[in-house]
């Protein structure tokens, strides 16, 4: 059970967020609060209301959460301030945490993000000492030699993949022949990730600070991540911290969790994991 309040915060109240409170507020204050935010240009509810389901489920477990829009996304106004997107993300997430602390007294936080939300989670968790847990869904990924071997093998052997490839090429051909417009009007966020060494150093610093981490990878990123243990091959320096870092691959789940069952799998996993933080 939960209770939700809409809050406007940050400079001139230009950021908007929904504070989801557990019915047992006293219990909630002993736990870290959870930050949820945008996925690509989707507003704070997330794809298929993922963040809403997650927030309400977390509230049922006694956790406070704030799902909010970074400046310029969703319903939050754009920031007139200059500075880099990274600096603004840090400042805005910090404002969100300050707000929760003022309202609840909680000063420990877990941040969860999917896709570009995972990138922001990385940035914030790297710099803000109040973050004690970070969950990344389709966060940064770097290919390895084993990835390349597997990719080549799969391409040669997987019949369904070949069928889908042929189907897509056929559709492209039809579109060209019929002169149909290419569905290119939609915005695709560009993935900009730091060099592998930097990402590894950041995650290592988080682990050394005691930040619990959950890294989930879906089938949709199998162009860069295609086997369960790839995480540990990408980031060998993190291996001594296996007790506080979990990495899992979900071949049955796609990037936007486009089937209800996928949403349930991910929400369930996040809600189980947070008990470890």
């Amino acid at each position: 059970m939960s209770r939700e309040r809409v809050l406007q915060f940050g400079p001139s109240g230009r950021l908007i967020g929904i504070l989801c409170e557990p019915i047992d507020a006293t219990l909630g204050r002993s736990k870290p609060a959870v930050l949820l935010s945008n996925v690509g240009v989707s507003h704070r509810v997330g794809p298929f209301r993922l963040n809403v389901h997650l927030a309400r489920r977390l509230a049922a477990q006694g956790y406070y959460s704030l799902r909010f829009d970074f400046a310029g996304l969703g319903d939050s106004e754009a920031s007139p301030d200059g500075g880099s997107e990274t600096d603004r993300a840090i400042a805005e997430a910090s404002a969100a945490m300050d707000l929760i602390t003022v309202r609840t007294g909680i000063d420990r936080f877990v941040m969860m993000g999917l896709c570009s939300g995972a990138d922001k989670t990385h940035i914030v968790a790297t710099t803000d000492q109040r973050i004690v847990g970070a969950a990344f869904i389709d966060g940064y990924a770097f290919t390895t030699w084993r990835f390349n071997c597997r990719r080549l093998t799969l391409r040669l052997l997987e019949l369904k993949r070949i069928k889908v490839y042929i189907k897509h090429r056929w559709k492209d051909l039809q579109r060209r022949l019929l002169r149909l417009p290419k569905p290119s009007q939609a915005y695709e966020p560009t993935v900009i990730q730091p060099p592998r060494e930097q990402a590894e150093a950041d995650l290592l610093a988080m682990a050394q600070r005691g930040v619990k981490q959950l890294h989930l990878y879906t089938i949709s990123v199998d162009t860069v991540y295609n086997y369960a243990d790839q995480f540990w091959h990408m980031y060998p320096a993190l291996r001594p911290h296996r007790s506080s870092i979990i990495s899992e691959r979900y071949p049955q789940v796609d990037h936007t969790l486009s089937i209800v069952a996928m949403q349930k799998i991910i929400v369930e996993r996040l809600c189980t994991w947070i008990g470890l933080v």
Binding site: V6, L7, I16, V45, P47, A186, V260, A261, Q263
Partner: protein, 267 residues
Amino acid sequence: MHALYFGPSDAPLLGLYHPVAHARPRRGVLLCYPGPEEAMRVHWAYRNLTQLLLNSGFHVFRFDYYGTGDSSGPSGEGGLHRWSRDIQLAAQEFCALAAIDVMSLVGARLGGSMVATVQLDLSDVKVAHRLLWDPVINGADYLTQLEALQHQRIANSRYPLERLLDPQAAEALGYPLRPLVTSSIRQLDLLTQPLATAQRITVLTSTPSANGGLIHQLLNKYRSIEYTTVDEPCHWSTQEVLEQALLPTQIIRRIGDLVTQPSGDVL
């Protein structure tokens, strides 16, 4: 902008009220989202439309229906009857907040269908204009289209999704489809249902139109409906873009023009 929860305390709805400082006469536009399957796609377009209307001196109110967005209720619940009641609640809240004299309603897809039919009892406030953007004319056709898109999604998946899907629970495009919702959508037929009163009703279609034949039947039946088409695609039924934000520019400009420019006595 003023964000708030409104409506019944046991099932509050999220509303976003965008006031303007000097609106004379006090004019407002209530934006109604499509059904849950398409609401996510138009959120950014509605934000842009809001800004355009604000710049023209109109107050704007937009909100999430029960079981959608940040409003209460689980996904898959609600239905056209309940969402139409939500529109009534939102209109009343809007009037209370903005003290407007004249209201226009704009809705895309199922939102447009509800804008066409929802009766509003707003005492002193005149409903000047109802604008339907690619409205769903026939609910059964819409459900058939959703079903076809869902089949395509399953067929195109690289993972055998049949293993994940619950055969007892219908869903479409990432949202559960509960019987109450589907039955309410199936009953929708703008060709037989009475349209609500307004000084002006406009149908705007993108190109190619999702249901051109039915639109023309509607226009033949109601000669007073204004019709406009914009040469900009929305791809409501193109599998590849269903999860991507819709960013139309010409359509938003045209809606802004239609709502803000005078036509008739009131606006």
